[in-house]
């Protein structure tokens, strides 16, 4: 059965290649970037009408506009507090010294002084990079989005934790949110809520609320049930059970969920600069557009510092309590006294930052930005000059060996040949239902008029995923088999997952220039950590007794890996591949505007060029359709293999 399946796959690929060669260059559905089809211009007009309706339609007047107004107002209040001056004033309500003091105090109060020291250093570094106001804007945006996300996500998460039916209703949306490439929903949201802080906040919330819901409901569901049952046996009402037992016990896990929500929000807020989010995303995008790697690094470092700052301060709060035993009276007293002293100092600092200019506005002279820009520019130049063999060589190798042939095969073959191939793959791997779904979705892409661009994106995604899987599997197997490797790689994997993927574009642009390879390389760097983690867990989940038995039978290490561990972890491998694909896709499309082209470029161009708006919106949908096809086929494959 297994053999027949792989023969079938091989046969259909061969037929596909032959047909592709034979009919090369015909029916490719390629149109020029600035050309519209009837459909895309129709959508463009509709979008324009929709936008024009903003002051007339009741949906806008009574629903969307008030939401936009409220969120804009909310964000503006926070921005006025720390980032930008309010209307009739020249400085924000709290100047830099005050912000530094408040952050130090807050982190000290929730964790320990060492974390507070780290947070302060990172903040000051952001200031020294000349990014103070951008950093404050990013913090304000993140804060606004996180507060709103938690206000919605935690109650919904608790609800989903208590009720199976609610969880069942939520699950498809939560799953969809996980595979939805971030770029996809920015444009439609901007269409409804206009380019600006409100759209950026809402898009960020769509990204981070599912995380809050998932972790909260997981926290409630995985409690030790004995105390919960005991509380019930003593006649607690549902509400008493929830407030006196379940929530206090789940608190720690929920705080972890807050940490994850914050990290999701901060990484999205940076990308959301594409739809007008104020903050650090702006200088990053500017630098990417003008291909100024040095400037990109300056802003990129600030992003990384901000991410580390937020991660450390929120995860320290989550980790601090590893038992339910509170501190002793004496410890509490000491802490209270130091807190009061620190609080007074903070108030003094805030007061100073409101009254003295040096403490209010970050002094321009204190900056290392030019030096950082110069150093990174020099370093990039040096690498390009001396290590060409590695950068250009690697790029060319991948381009000639994989990218070009695959792109020819996918994009230059007639559309019906490739559609047939996709359906055949779906049929062999996933079965009839998945095949029908793939057919419908592929045809939707064909009919959208963006088939050619979709094939470019598909090429980059497949090559990116292939490389990710080669590296990810190797590292995953290594970390799965060796505790030392796991310990050594763990910090990098964690950092890779916390940092906003967007900033990886900066060094990649420096190394590979404005090409599609930059997007692919960014996608690989972004998706490797998650693949390694999944593979590592899969390998570790293989029962020890199996390996012991294989060892006792005299297997070599290679035999154990290939004959025991990999087959036993097959399902996890497929899931890792699926995650890898989805992650690569999400980043490859963002790479659209550093030269990767494809659907991502259209989405981003659609945001800024009115004549491409229709095309951009459809491109977003096409990305989603590609993602769903991948996801369904791989999931079905994983299901069948178990």
């Amino acid at each position: 059965m297994k053999v027949r399946k792989s023969y079938l796959l091989l046969a259909s690929v061969t037929v596909w290649i032959l047909l592709g060669r034979l009919l090369n260059g015909t029916h490719t559905l390629q149109i020029a970037t600035y050309e519209n089809t009837a459909f895309t211009s129709y959508i463009g007009e509709k979008a324009l009408d929709f936008r024009g309706n903003r002051t007339e339609s009741t949906a806008f007047i009574y629903f969307f506009n008030p939401i936009r107004g409220a969120i804009d107002g909310f964000v503006q209040i926070i921005r006025n507090l720390i980032a930008v001056p309010a209307q009739n004033s020249v400085i924000p309500i709290i100047g830099w010294l005050g912000v530094v003091a408040i952050v130090a105090f807050a982190v000290y109060a929730t964790s320990q002084w060492r974390t507070a020291l780290l947070a302060v250093s990172l903040l000051l570094a952001c200031g020294a990079l000349g990014m103070w106001q951008f950093t404050m804007d990013s913090i304000a945006m993140t804060l606004a989005a996180v507060l709103l996300s938690l206000a919605i996500g935690i109650p919904l998460g608790i609800w989903a934790g208590l009720s199976d039916r609610v969880l069942k209703i939520f699950t498809p949306f939560l799953d969809l949110a996980q595979i939805l490439p971030t770029l996809v929903y920015m444009a439609p949201i901007a269409l409804v809520f206009m380019i600006g802080a409100a759209s950026a906040t809402i898009a960020t919330m769509i990204y981070s609320i599912p995380i809050a819901i998932r972790i909260t409901s997981h926290a409630i569901r995985n409690l030790n049930q004995a105390p919960v049952e005991a509380a019930e046996s003593m006649g607690s009402t549902q509400k008493q059970k929830l407030t006196k037992v379940q929530i206090p016990m789940a608190k720690q896990m929920i705080v972890l969920g807050i940490n994850q929500t914050v990290m999701a929000a901060v990484s999205f807020v940076v990308i959301a600069a594409l739809i007008g989010a104020p903050g650090l995303g702006k200088p990053v995008i500017e630098a990417l557009i003008i291909r100024n790697v040095g400037q990109g690094f300056v802003a990129g470092f600030a992003v990384v510092f901000l991410a580390i700052l937020l991660d450390r301060s929120t995860s320290a709060a989550a980790k601090r309590q590893d038992s339910f035993i509170p501190e002793t009276e004496k410890q509490i007293k000491t802490k209270r006294i130091t807190l009061i002293v620190a609080g007074i100092l903070t108030i003094v600092a805030v007061f100073m930052s409101r009254t003295m200019l040096w403490a209010a506005v970050w002094p321009k002279e204190v900056t290392i930005a030019p030096q950082v820009a110069k150093v990174t520019n020099d370093a990039t130049a040096w690498i390009l000059e001396n290590l060409t063999i590695f950068t250009v060589g690697f790029k060319d190798l991948i381009s000639y060996a994989f990218l070009n042939p695959l792109e020819t095969q996918l994009a230059a073959s007639p559309w019906y040949v490739t559609v047939a191939m996709i359906v055949a793959l779906a049929l062999i791997i996933g079965g009839t239902r998945i095949a029908i779904l793939s057919f419908v979705l592929s045809m939707a892409i064909v009919l959208s008029g963006l088939w050619y661009e979709a094939m470019l994106t598909l090429t980059q995604t497949i090559v990116g995923c292939l490389l990710t899987m080669i590296i990810g599997l190797a590292l995953g197997i290594w970390t799965g088999r060796s505790d030392r490797a796991e310990r050594a790689l763990r910090p990098f994997l964690d950092a890779g997952q916390t940092l906003p993927a967007f900033v990886y574009l900066v060094p990649m642009l420096g190394l590979f220039g404005p090409t599609r390879f930059t997007a692919i390389a960014t996608g690989i760097v972004y998706s490797i950590p998650v693949v390694v983690k999944i593979v590592c867990e899969g390998i570790r989940a293989v029962p020890h007794s199996l390996i012991e038995a294989a060892t006792a039978a005299g297997s070599t290490t290679r035999q154990i890996i290939t004959k025991v561990q990999l087959p036993a972890a097959k399902k996890t491998m497929l899931l890792a591949t699926n995650q890898g694909l989805i992650y690569v896709l999400a980043v490859v499309v963002i790479g659209g505007f550093v030269g990767a082209g494809g659907l991502g470029y259209l989405v981003i161009a659609g945001n800024s060029k009115p004549e491409l708006q229709g095309k951009g919106l459809i491109a977003g949908v096409a990305i989603l359709l590609l993602g769903v096809i991948f996801d369904r086929i791989m999931q079905a494959g994983a299901r069948r293999s178990s």
Binding site: E229, A230, S233, M234, G235, S236, K244, M249
Partner: protein
């Protein structure tokens, strides 16, 4: 054995898990084995047509191996699990018909439960764990702490009021569980394998503790266990469960002397008979040559307790049941029983 008005009365109680559980009861499917039924309809019968009474002040033990349905049964009795069918009365009140408010009322004031894994709230001090049910009863802080301190003393936890559960050993934690159950002064204590998670020495202490509390407070108890020696030690009567059904109900002596079937006989085989049976069981007609003027003992004396008197006496003892002479017991009779004969 049960008195005229039982504290708890269970009649034809069923609990079937799975879809359409009512359909199974009364159908031929109910006679299938568990595996067969699960394969056929997907249902599992956890409690099968169970009936018994618990008298006021009695310690009623439900004994069975894991999967026999005993934990489900005790949860059905407080409706932590809704029974599928049957009657359940507490002091004449039909528990299965009461609404949620009344059920909570009963749980708050009349029933208390002690759990195998303690079920203590990890984020509360011992005293606030014990005061929890008073708290949800709306008792003011001072009053509930005063009551909690009383119970803390009762179970021997003095000095631990401000500790947190994870600072205590398993045995101590279960004392907190007991104290919590006693705090509301309930009529019935349900104990679900309360000592199974404890190591043997602590378990013995805790069994003594339960016996002592029972003597002091006279609470009615429903005690679930998988350990027959524990059942024999604490129980006035024991119900033996197998595959959801009760195989036999009786005093420890009944079970040891007259096991209902092979299954029960297998269980009681390892019980030292001299620890359970009374002289009534050994008494026989005096034969020619037996002296009939030995010491006199009551018929309900446990053989172990009588052994010393009998073995030291040169003459067989006379067994007396409320004034009526039942017969005699000689040293040989006792030795034969202890060494494994009948």
């Amino acid at each position: 054995m049960s008195s005229a008005s039982p504290m708890i009365s269970v009649r034809n109680l069923w609990k079937v898990f799975g879809n359409n559980p009512e359909k199974v009861i009364g159908s031929p499917d109910a006679l299938l084995t568990r595996t067969e039924l699960r394969a056929k309809t997907g249902n599992t019968i956890a409690v099968r047509d169970v009936s018994f009474d618990v008298a006021p002040g009695e310690v009623f033990v439900v004994m069975g191996l894991s999967g026999s349905g005993k934990s489900t049964l005790v949860r059905c009795m407080t409706r932590l699990i809704e029974p599928t069918q049957g009657q359940l009365q507490f002091e004449g009140e039909d528990i299965l018909k009461v609404d949620n408010a009344r059920l909570r009322e009963l749980r708050k004031t009349r029933f208390s439960m002690v759990f195998q894994h303690f079920g203590l709230l990890p984020h509360r001090k011992v005293i606030d764990n014990i005061a929890y049910s008073l708290e949800i009863n709306g008792v003011k802080k001072d009053a509930r702490h005063a009551r909690a301190n009383e119970v803390i003393e009762l179970v021997g936890l003095q000095g631990y009021a401000n500790a947190y559960p994870e600072q205590l050993s398993g045995g101590m934690q279960q004392r907190v569980g007991l104290a919590r159950a006693l705090a509301v002064d309930p009529q019935v204590l349900f104990l679900d394998e309360p000592f199974s998670a404890l190591d043997p020495l602590i378990r013995r202490d805790m069994q003594q503790e339960v016996i002592r509390l029972h003597h002091e407070l006279g609470k009615t108890m429903v005690f679930i266990t998988h350990d027959l020696s524990e059942a024999v030690k604490v129980g006035d009567r024991i119900a033996i469960m197998r595959d959801g059904a009760i195989v036999q109900i009786g005093t420890p002596e009944d079970l040891v002397a007259n096991p209902a079937d092979e299954y029960v006989a297998n269980f009681v085989r390892d019980i030292a008979k001299s620890h359970v049976l009374t002289l009534k069981h050994l008494a026989r007609k005096a034969e020619p040559g037996d002296a009939t003027d030995g010491p006199e003992l009551a018929a309900n004396t446990i053989i172990r307790d009588a052994a010393q008197v009998i073995l030291q006496s040169h003459k067989p003892v006379r067994v007396n049941d409320n004034g009526a002479a039942l017969g005699i017991v000689s040293s040989e009779d006792v030795l034969r029983l202890i060494s494994g004969g009948a």
